[in-house]
C-alpha cells in the first residue's frame, strides 16, 4: 500500500505530467529529472500515445529513470534513430513541439529564461552551462513550461541577467498570426503554478505545499496577479504515486532538483552504487548460469 502523503516534488511532477497530450512531440532535453519523471508518468497514465524523443531515439517508451541505464532502455524501445538536426527541423522548427519543461537559473515576468550567466555575460560571476535547445523550445513549443526547485526572488526575478531564450509574442492570437502555435506559459515551483497568456503579468493559478498567495507575491521578483479565489494544486493519486515511486523513479532522481551541490554528491554516490550493484548482480548470476 503506497503512502498517499505526497511530497512537493511529486505534486510538481503530476502537475507537469497533466500538460502532456497525445499530440505533437516531446523531446527529452538536458538533465531535468522532474521533467523526465513527468513525461514517463503521462505516458504510463493518461497519454500512452504521447510521442517522446530521447537522445537520438525516436518515439521511445516510458523508461525507468537512472544514471546509467535509461539511455539503453530508450534505444531498445525506440522506433528509429535520427540525427539531432533532422529532429529539430521536424519538431522545434516545424511547429510539432508540444510540451517540454525547461529548468533555468532565472526567469522573469516577460518569460525570458537564463541558462548562461549570473552577472555580466562577458565577465560573469557564475558561468552556467548554456541553453542548448531551450531558446528554441520556449519560443516555438505550443506550451512553455518552466519549473524550478526553488521559489525566491533570485530565481523568479525582476529581470534576468541574460536572456538565453524567451517567448514573443505571448498571446495565442498574435502567435498564430506569426505562424507559431498558440499556448500559455506556465511556471511550476515548490509553492505554486503561475500562468501567463498575454503581455499582462503572470496569474497565480494554484497553490501547494502550504504556501499562501502573500508568500508567493513576496517571493516573486515580478508582478503576480492574485485572483480572489486560488485553488489548491491537484494532489497526486495513489496510482500516480505508486508508478512514480516503484516503477518510474525507484532511485529517487527527482530529488536532484531540490538539492545543493554538496548534498547531491553524497546522494549521487548512493544512487550510483545501487544501480551498479543491480547490474553486477546480474553479471554474477549469468556467470553462475
Amino acid at each position: 500500500m503506497t503512502d498517499v502523503t505526497s511530497t512537493i516534488a511529486e505534486i510538481m511532477v503530476c502537475r507537469i505530467a497533466s500538460e502532456m497530450e497525445e499530440v505533437g512531440v516531446t523531446v527529452l532535453g538536458s538533465f531535468t529529472p522532474l521533467a523526465y519523471a513527468s513525461y514517463m508518468l503521462a505516458k504510463r497514465t493518461h497519454a500512452p500515445g504521447a510521442v517522446m524523443v530521447g537522445y537520438n531515439a525516436l518515439d521511445i517508451p516510458a523508461v525507468e529513470l537512472s544514471m546509467m541505464g535509461s539511455e539503453g532502455a530508450a534505444f531498445r524501445g525506440s522506433t528509429g534513430r535520427w540525427g539531432f538536426l533532422t529532429l529539430v527541423n521536424t519538431v522545434h522548427l516545424a511547429n510539432r513541439g508540444n510540451v517540454e519543461a525547461v529548468s533555468s537559473a532565472q526567469i522573469d515576468g516577460d518569460a525570458s529564461i537564463n541558462l548562461s550567466v549570473i552577472g555580466d555575460h562577458a565577465h560573469p560571476k557564475i558561468r552556467l552551462p548554456g541553453g542548448v535547445g531551450a531558446p528554441e523550445v520556449v519560443q516555438n513549443y505550443r506550451t512553455m513550461l518552466a519549473y524550478f526547485g526553488r521559489h525566491d526572488t533570485r530565481v523568479l526575478t525582476r529581470k534576468v541577467d541574460f536572456a538565453t531564450g524567451g517567448r514573443f509574442p505571448i498571446d495565442a492570437e498574435s502567435r498564430e498570426k506569426a505562424g507559431l502555435q498558440g499556448g500559455p506559459v506556465k511556471i511550476i515551483t515548490p509553492k505554486c503554478v503561475l500562468v501567463k497568456t498575454s503581455d499582462a503579468p503572470f496569474v497565480l493559478e494554484s497553490l501547494h505545499g502550504g504556501a499562501t498567495a502573500d508568500d508567493v507575491v513576496t517571493s516573486t521578483g515580478f508582478d503576480v496577479v492574485v485572483p480572489t479565489s486560488v485553488p489548491e494544486t491537484v494532489q497526486p493519486t495513489a496510482e500516480q504515486l505508486n508508478l512514480l515511486r516503484n516503477e518510474i523513479d525507484p532511485f529517487g532522481t527527482i530529488q536532484f532538483d531540490f538539492m545543493s551541490g554538496k548534498e547531491r554528491a553524497t546522494y549521487l554516490r548512493t544512487m550510483i552504487d545501487r544501480e551498479w550493484q543491480r547490474a553486477a548482480d546480474a553479471v554474477e548470476a549469468r556467470s553462475r548460469g
Binding site: S30, F31, P33, M40, G49, Y55, N56, P61, A62, E64, M67, M68, G69, E71, G72, A73, A74, F75, R76, G83, F84, L85, V88, H92, L93, S116, H121, P124, I126, R127, P129, G130, G131, V132, G133, P135, E136, Q139, N140, F162, A163, T164, G165, R167, F168, A178, L180, F256, R264, A265, L268, R269, I272, E275, W276, R278, A279, A280, A282, V283
Partner: protein, 305 residues
C-alpha cells in the same frame, strides 16, 4: 590508395596546436574520449573547440590547458554538476567563448557541410528572443528576404578545421556506423576539413554491407580512422556500454577539488597509454558491468502501447 588507418598514438600528427576542433557526442554520451585523452597526451595547446553539448570531453581539455577558445551551446556535467573548468576559466577571464543557441549552432555547422556561407534561421522570433543573437553580431545578422520582403535572421557557417566523432564500428574505408546516441556526428562529418573517426572496432566491409542501414558517415567523408575500444569511456556508447557514473563522479570531484587534485588526474592520463587507461578503469570485470547496465535499463509498460 593510401590507408586511412591511424594508430591513436599518432593523432597528434594530424591535429595541430592552434587548430579549431569540433567534438562529437552529446551530454554524457559518446564523446570521442580516447581522442580527447590522446590530445592531452600530445600536449596540444591553443585549440579552438566546437561543442554542441559538451561535458567531460571539453572540461578535461580545459583542465589540461589545451584550449584558448570555445564555441558551444552547452557544456555541463549534468547530474555531476557544472563543468568546473568552464566555470573557472570563464569567470577568471582565461577562456574566450562564443555561446550560441543549440539549434542555430547545428544549422551553422550544416551550412559548412552544404558549402553555403550562411543559412536562414528565423526560429528565435522577431524581435529575437535570445540575447545570444545580440552578443554575436559576427555570427547572426539579418538579410533581406528576396521573395516575400522584410528581413530574415541568418546564421553564418561554422567551419572547424578538424572534426572528431566516435562510432560503433567502421570498415577500413571509414564507412562508420552508429546504433546509440550520435548527437550531430552526422552533421559534423560533413564539415569540410579533416574528419577523424574513432570507433570501437574496425570490421570487414561485409559486416557494414549487411547492416548498411546503420551507416551514418560514409567513408568518402573520412580522412583518418582510428580503432579505439571503449573510446567514448567514461561517457556511454550504447549499445556497448553505459556511462561510467563512478568514474564521472571521480572526475567531477577531482576537477572540483582544486588545482592539485585536478593536476594529478590529468597527469595520470598524460603518463599512461590508452591501453594502460583501459586496464586501469575496466579491471575487475567493470567492462562487463558497464555492458550489463545498458541491458538493465528498464522499459516500463508495453512497447506496443
Amino acid at each position: 590508395m593510401t590507408t586511412k588507418l591511424l594508430p591513436l598514438e599518432e593523432l597528434g600528427s594530424v591535429v595541430h596546436d592552434g587548430q579549431s576542433v569540433a567534438l562529437g557526442g552529446a551530454w554524457l554520451c559518446n564523446h570521442p574520449m580516447a581522442a580527447v585523452r590522446q590530445l592531452v597526451r600530445a600536449g596540444r595547446k591553443d585549440l579552438h573547440l566546437y561543442s554542441l553539448i559538451g561535458s567531460i570531453d571539453v572540461d578535461l581539455l580545459l583542465a589540461a590547458g589545451a584550449v584558448s577558445h570555445l564555441t558551444f551551446s552547452m557544456v555541463t556535467l549534468e547530474a555531476f554538476g557544472l563543468a568546473p573548468n568552464l566555470r573557472r576559466q570563464v569567470e577568471h577571464g582565461d577562456l574566450q567563448i562564443t555561446e550560441l543557441t543549440g539549434l542555430s549552432m547545428e544549422v551553422a555547422l550544416e551550412a559548412a557541410g552544404r558549402n553555403v556561407p550562411f543559412l536562414p534561421y528565423p526560429a528565435l522570433g522577431r524581435p529575437e528572443t535570445s540575447d545570444l543573437v545580440r552578443a554575436n553580431p559576427g555570427i547572426y545578422t539579418h538579410v533581406a528576404d528576396p521573395f516575400v520582403g522584410g528581413e530574415v535572421l541568418v546564421v553564418r557557417a561554422l567551419r572547424p578545421d578538424v572534426t572528431i566523432v566516435h562510432a560503433l564500428r567502421a570498415d577500413r574505408d571509414g564507412n562508420a556506423q552508429f546504433d546509440g546516441t550520435f548527437g550531430i556526428d552526422d552533421v559534423l562529418a560533413k564539415v569540410p576539413g579533416t574528419v577523424i573517426v574513432t570507433c570501437e572496432e574496425i570490421v570487414p566491409r561485409e559486416v557494414i554491407v549487411k547492416t548498411a542501414h546503420m551507416t551514418k558517415v560514409p567513408g568518402y567523408l573520412v580522412d583518418h580512422l582510428i580503432e579505439a575500444p571503449f573510446g567514448a569511456h567514461p561517457t556511454s556508447h550504447v549499445p556497448c556500454y553505459s556511462l561510467d557514473a563512478p568514474e564521472m563522479l571521480d572526475y567531477a570531484q577531482a576537477a572540483g577539488a582544486g588545482e592539485e587534485a585536478q593536476a594529478s588526474y590529468v597527469e595520470r592520463i598524460r603518463r599512461e597509454t590508452e591501453e594502460d587507461y583501459r586496464t586501469r578503469v575496466l579491471s575487475g570485470g567493470r567492462d562487463l558491468v558497464l555492458a550489463e547496465l545498458v541491458r538493465q535499463g528498464r522499459i516500463l509498460g508495453s512497447i506496443s502501447a
